[in-house]
Symmetry: C2
Subunit: 116 residues, 2 copies
DNA sequence: TAATATGTGTAGTATATAGTACACATGTCA
DNA sequence: TGACATGTGTACTATATACTACACATATTA
Protein backbone atom coordinates (compact mmCIF):
# COMPACT_ATOMS: atom_id res chain seq x y z
CA UNK A 1 0.00 0.00 0.00
CA UNK A 2 1.10 3.55 -0.72
CA UNK A 3 2.21 5.91 2.02
CA UNK A 4 -0.80 8.18 1.55
CA UNK A 5 -3.42 5.45 1.56
CA UNK A 6 -1.90 3.85 4.63
CA UNK A 7 -1.87 7.14 6.55
CA UNK A 8 -5.44 7.85 5.58
CA UNK A 9 -6.54 4.38 6.67
CA UNK A 10 -4.83 4.64 10.05
CA UNK A 11 -6.01 8.20 10.66
CA UNK A 12 -9.60 7.34 9.73
CA UNK A 13 -9.49 4.37 12.10
CA UNK A 14 -8.43 6.63 14.96
CA UNK A 15 -10.95 9.28 13.90
CA UNK A 16 -13.82 6.82 14.24
CA UNK A 17 -13.00 6.62 17.96
CA UNK A 18 -11.85 10.18 18.50
CA UNK A 19 -12.89 13.16 16.42
CA UNK A 20 -9.55 14.88 17.14
CA UNK A 21 -8.11 12.84 14.28
CA UNK A 22 -9.61 14.91 11.46
CA UNK A 23 -7.32 16.00 8.62
CA UNK A 24 -7.38 19.55 9.94
CA UNK A 25 -6.58 18.72 13.54
CA UNK A 26 -3.86 16.20 12.77
CA UNK A 27 -2.36 18.63 10.25
CA UNK A 28 -2.32 21.33 12.90
CA UNK A 29 -0.65 19.07 15.47
CA UNK A 30 2.08 17.92 13.08
CA UNK A 31 2.57 21.46 11.81
CA UNK A 32 1.36 21.47 8.21
CA UNK A 33 -1.52 23.00 6.30
CA UNK A 34 -4.66 20.83 6.17
CA UNK A 35 -4.79 20.99 2.37
CA UNK A 36 -1.25 19.61 2.27
CA UNK A 37 -2.04 16.63 4.51
CA UNK A 38 -5.14 15.98 2.43
CA UNK A 39 -3.05 15.90 -0.73
CA UNK A 40 -0.46 13.64 0.88
CA UNK A 41 -3.15 11.15 1.92
CA UNK A 42 -4.60 11.06 -1.57
CA UNK A 43 -1.18 10.70 -3.19
CA UNK A 44 -1.64 14.02 -4.93
CA UNK A 45 1.83 15.05 -3.78
CA UNK A 46 4.91 13.14 -2.63
CA UNK A 47 5.23 12.13 1.02
CA UNK A 48 6.49 14.91 3.30
CA UNK A 49 9.92 15.38 4.90
CA UNK A 50 11.43 12.97 7.41
CA UNK A 51 10.59 15.36 10.25
CA UNK A 52 6.90 15.51 9.32
CA UNK A 53 6.78 11.73 8.84
CA UNK A 54 8.19 11.30 12.34
CA UNK A 55 5.58 13.68 13.76
CA UNK A 56 2.89 11.73 11.92
CA UNK A 57 4.22 8.40 13.21
CA UNK A 58 4.12 9.80 16.73
CA UNK A 59 0.62 11.15 16.29
CA UNK A 60 -0.79 7.96 14.80
CA UNK A 61 1.16 5.55 16.99
CA UNK A 62 3.04 4.07 14.04
CA UNK A 63 6.65 2.95 13.63
CA UNK A 64 8.64 5.81 12.12
CA UNK A 65 11.05 3.50 10.27
CA UNK A 66 8.13 1.70 8.62
CA UNK A 67 6.45 4.94 7.54
CA UNK A 68 9.77 6.30 6.25
CA UNK A 69 10.25 3.11 4.24
CA UNK A 70 6.79 3.47 2.75
CA UNK A 71 7.78 7.01 1.79
CA UNK A 72 10.88 5.67 0.03
CA UNK A 73 13.21 7.05 2.68
CA UNK A 74 15.72 5.70 5.19
CA UNK A 75 16.08 7.37 8.56
CA UNK A 76 18.90 9.90 8.64
CA UNK A 77 20.33 8.47 11.85
CA UNK A 78 20.78 5.08 10.15
CA UNK A 79 22.44 6.76 7.19
CA UNK A 80 24.83 8.52 9.56
CA UNK A 81 25.78 5.21 11.19
CA UNK A 82 26.50 3.68 7.78
CA UNK A 83 28.46 6.71 6.57
CA UNK A 84 30.87 6.49 9.51
CA UNK A 85 32.05 3.01 8.45
CA UNK A 86 30.87 2.70 4.85
CA UNK A 87 32.82 -0.38 3.81
CA UNK A 88 31.97 -2.47 6.86
CA UNK A 89 28.29 -1.58 6.82
CA UNK A 90 27.93 -1.79 3.05
CA UNK A 91 29.44 -5.27 2.97
CA UNK A 92 27.46 -6.45 5.97
CA UNK A 93 24.10 -5.11 4.77
CA UNK A 94 24.59 -6.63 1.31
CA UNK A 95 25.41 -9.95 3.00
CA UNK A 96 22.23 -9.66 5.06
CA UNK A 97 20.02 -8.91 2.08
CA UNK A 98 18.90 -12.51 1.63
CA UNK A 99 19.18 -13.62 5.24
CA UNK A 100 15.77 -14.63 6.63
CA UNK A 101 14.01 -12.57 9.31
CA UNK A 102 14.58 -15.03 12.13
CA UNK A 103 18.31 -14.99 11.52
CA UNK A 104 18.41 -11.17 11.57
CA UNK A 105 16.53 -11.21 14.85
CA UNK A 106 19.00 -13.72 16.22
CA UNK A 107 21.98 -11.60 15.18
CA UNK A 108 20.39 -8.56 16.83
CA UNK A 109 19.81 -10.57 19.99
CA UNK A 110 23.35 -11.95 20.03
CA UNK A 111 24.78 -8.46 19.59
CA UNK A 112 22.56 -7.12 22.36
CA UNK A 113 23.68 -9.90 24.67
CA UNK A 114 27.31 -9.35 23.78
CA UNK A 115 27.70 -12.82 22.23
CA UNK A 116 29.99 -11.86 19.40
CA UNK B 1 38.96 15.32 4.31
CA UNK B 2 36.24 16.71 2.10
CA UNK B 3 34.96 14.87 -0.95
CA UNK B 4 36.38 17.43 -3.35
CA UNK B 5 39.85 17.59 -1.82
CA UNK B 6 40.07 13.81 -1.71
CA UNK B 7 39.09 13.45 -5.36
CA UNK B 8 41.57 16.08 -6.40
CA UNK B 9 44.35 14.42 -4.45
CA UNK B 10 43.67 10.99 -5.93
CA UNK B 11 43.23 12.31 -9.46
CA UNK B 12 46.45 14.36 -9.25
CA UNK B 13 48.31 11.29 -8.03
CA UNK B 14 47.14 9.33 -11.06
CA UNK B 15 47.83 12.27 -13.34
CA UNK B 16 51.49 12.39 -12.29
CA UNK B 17 51.87 8.91 -13.84
CA UNK B 18 49.42 9.26 -16.69
CA UNK B 19 48.40 12.55 -18.28
CA UNK B 20 44.99 11.09 -19.21
CA UNK B 21 43.92 12.03 -15.68
CA UNK B 22 43.53 15.75 -16.33
CA UNK B 23 40.32 17.45 -15.13
CA UNK B 24 39.14 17.71 -18.71
CA UNK B 25 39.75 14.10 -19.67
CA UNK B 26 38.37 12.59 -16.49
CA UNK B 27 35.34 14.88 -16.77
CA UNK B 28 34.77 13.69 -20.31
CA UNK B 29 35.04 10.02 -19.33
CA UNK B 30 32.59 10.33 -16.45
CA UNK B 31 30.25 12.45 -18.55
CA UNK B 32 30.33 15.94 -17.04
CA UNK B 33 31.61 19.34 -18.08
CA UNK B 34 35.24 20.05 -17.07
CA UNK B 35 34.27 23.26 -15.28
CA UNK B 36 31.83 21.25 -13.17
CA UNK B 37 34.43 18.69 -12.09
CA UNK B 38 36.82 21.52 -11.32
CA UNK B 39 34.23 23.14 -9.07
CA UNK B 40 33.46 19.84 -7.37
CA UNK B 41 37.14 19.27 -6.60
CA UNK B 42 37.51 22.74 -5.12
CA UNK B 43 34.33 22.40 -3.07
CA UNK B 44 32.76 25.23 -4.99
CA UNK B 45 29.62 23.12 -5.49
CA UNK B 46 28.17 20.11 -3.69
CA UNK B 47 29.31 16.60 -4.67
CA UNK B 48 27.60 15.21 -7.78
CA UNK B 49 24.89 12.56 -8.05
CA UNK B 50 25.35 8.96 -6.98
CA UNK B 51 25.74 7.90 -10.62
CA UNK B 52 28.58 10.37 -11.25
CA UNK B 53 30.25 9.41 -7.96
CA UNK B 54 30.17 5.77 -9.04
CA UNK B 55 31.70 6.66 -12.41
CA UNK B 56 34.39 8.64 -10.59
CA UNK B 57 35.10 5.77 -8.20
CA UNK B 58 35.47 3.46 -11.16
CA UNK B 59 37.73 5.88 -12.98
CA UNK B 60 39.99 6.54 -9.99
CA UNK B 61 40.00 2.99 -8.63
CA UNK B 62 38.27 4.01 -5.40
CA UNK B 63 35.58 2.32 -3.31
CA UNK B 64 32.19 3.74 -4.33
CA UNK B 65 30.69 3.31 -0.85
CA UNK B 66 33.54 5.30 0.69
CA UNK B 67 33.24 8.12 -1.85
CA UNK B 68 29.46 8.19 -1.41
CA UNK B 69 29.94 8.43 2.36
CA UNK B 70 32.35 11.34 1.91
CA UNK B 71 29.66 12.97 -0.22
CA UNK B 72 27.14 12.52 2.61
CA UNK B 73 25.24 9.83 0.74
CA UNK B 74 24.36 6.16 1.23
CA UNK B 75 24.22 3.86 -1.78
CA UNK B 76 20.69 3.48 -3.11
CA UNK B 77 20.97 -0.32 -3.22
CA UNK B 78 21.65 -0.38 0.53
CA UNK B 79 18.69 1.92 1.13
CA UNK B 80 16.49 -0.43 -0.88
CA UNK B 81 17.60 -3.40 1.24
CA UNK B 82 16.76 -1.51 4.42
CA UNK B 83 13.40 -0.29 3.11
CA UNK B 84 12.24 -3.84 2.41
CA UNK B 85 12.52 -4.80 6.08
CA UNK B 86 12.67 -1.46 7.88
CA UNK B 87 12.12 -2.60 11.44
CA UNK B 88 14.58 -5.47 11.36
CA UNK B 89 17.32 -3.47 9.68
CA UNK B 90 16.72 -0.31 11.69
CA UNK B 91 16.97 -2.20 14.96
CA UNK B 92 19.99 -4.18 13.87
CA UNK B 93 21.93 -1.21 12.50
CA UNK B 94 21.28 0.82 15.65
CA UNK B 95 22.51 -2.14 17.70
CA UNK B 96 25.65 -2.28 15.55
CA UNK B 97 26.41 1.42 15.89
CA UNK B 98 28.84 0.95 18.76
CA UNK B 99 30.09 -2.52 17.88
CA UNK B 100 33.81 -2.49 17.06
CA UNK B 101 35.10 -3.12 13.55
CA UNK B 102 36.48 -6.58 14.25
CA UNK B 103 33.10 -7.75 15.53
CA UNK B 104 31.32 -6.42 12.42
CA UNK B 105 33.82 -8.28 10.26
CA UNK B 106 33.19 -11.42 12.26
CA UNK B 107 29.43 -11.13 11.86
CA UNK B 108 29.87 -10.64 8.11
CA UNK B 109 32.11 -13.70 7.98
CA UNK B 110 29.71 -15.82 10.03
CA UNK B 111 26.82 -14.82 7.79
CA UNK B 112 28.83 -15.60 4.67
CA UNK B 113 29.75 -19.00 6.06
CA UNK B 114 26.18 -19.70 7.05
CA UNK B 115 27.00 -19.85 10.78
CA UNK B 116 23.85 -18.21 12.08
C1' DT C 1 -30.81 27.53 11.16
C1' DA C 2 -26.78 29.97 12.08
C1' DA C 3 -22.23 29.15 13.34
C1' DT C 4 -18.53 26.12 13.05
C1' DA C 5 -15.84 22.35 11.29
C1' DT C 6 -14.38 19.51 7.48
C1' DG C 7 -12.02 18.05 3.17
C1' DT C 8 -10.13 19.69 -0.95
C1' DG C 9 -9.21 22.54 -5.48
C1' DT C 10 -6.18 26.07 -7.30
C1' DA C 11 -2.28 28.82 -7.31
C1' DG C 12 1.93 30.08 -5.79
C1' DT C 13 6.70 30.13 -3.22
C1' DA C 14 11.52 29.12 -1.50
C1' DT C 15 15.33 26.27 -1.60
C1' DA C 16 17.99 22.37 -3.11
C1' DT C 17 19.85 19.35 -6.63
C1' DA C 18 22.36 18.55 -10.58
C1' DG C 19 24.06 20.06 -13.74
C1' DT C 20 25.38 22.95 -18.97
C1' DA C 21 27.64 26.49 -21.95
C1' DC C 22 31.03 29.66 -23.07
C1' DA C 23 34.90 32.43 -22.49
C1' DC C 24 39.50 33.30 -21.07
C1' DA C 25 44.17 33.25 -19.27
C1' DT C 26 47.91 30.19 -18.77
C1' DG C 27 50.77 26.14 -19.88
C1' DT C 28 52.88 22.54 -22.96
C1' DC C 29 55.26 20.68 -26.78
C1' DA C 30 56.30 19.87 -31.82
C1' DT D 1 56.07 30.15 -32.06
C1' DG D 2 51.79 28.54 -33.16
C1' DA D 3 48.47 25.03 -32.17
C1' DC D 4 46.39 22.58 -28.81
C1' DA D 5 45.42 21.38 -23.96
C1' DT D 6 44.51 22.80 -19.31
C1' DG D 7 41.99 24.72 -15.24
C1' DT D 8 38.58 27.87 -13.94
C1' DG D 9 35.32 32.21 -13.66
C1' DT D 10 30.69 33.69 -14.83
C1' DA D 11 26.15 33.04 -16.05
C1' DC D 12 22.51 30.22 -16.76
C1' DT D 13 18.90 26.24 -16.65
C1' DA D 14 15.72 22.37 -15.52
C1' DT D 15 13.69 19.57 -12.22
C1' DA D 16 12.68 18.10 -7.58
C1' DT D 17 11.52 18.94 -2.80
C1' DA D 18 8.69 20.73 0.59
C1' DC D 19 5.78 23.17 1.51
C1' DT D 20 1.96 27.85 2.28
C1' DA D 21 -2.27 30.62 1.48
C1' DC D 22 -6.87 31.17 0.30
C1' DA D 23 -11.24 29.98 -1.25
C1' DC D 24 -15.21 27.09 -1.46
C1' DA D 25 -18.71 23.55 -1.12
C1' DT D 26 -20.42 20.28 2.04
C1' DA D 27 -21.19 18.32 6.82
C1' DT D 28 -22.05 18.71 11.69
C1' DT D 29 -23.61 20.63 15.78
C1' DA D 30 -25.60 23.91 19.18
Amino acid sequence: MSFGKYIRKQREALKSKDRRFSVRQVAQRIGVEPAYLSKIERGDVAPPSEAKIRALADELGEDADVLLAMAGKVSSDLQAIIRKRPQLFADLIRQLKSVPDHALLRIARDVRDGDW
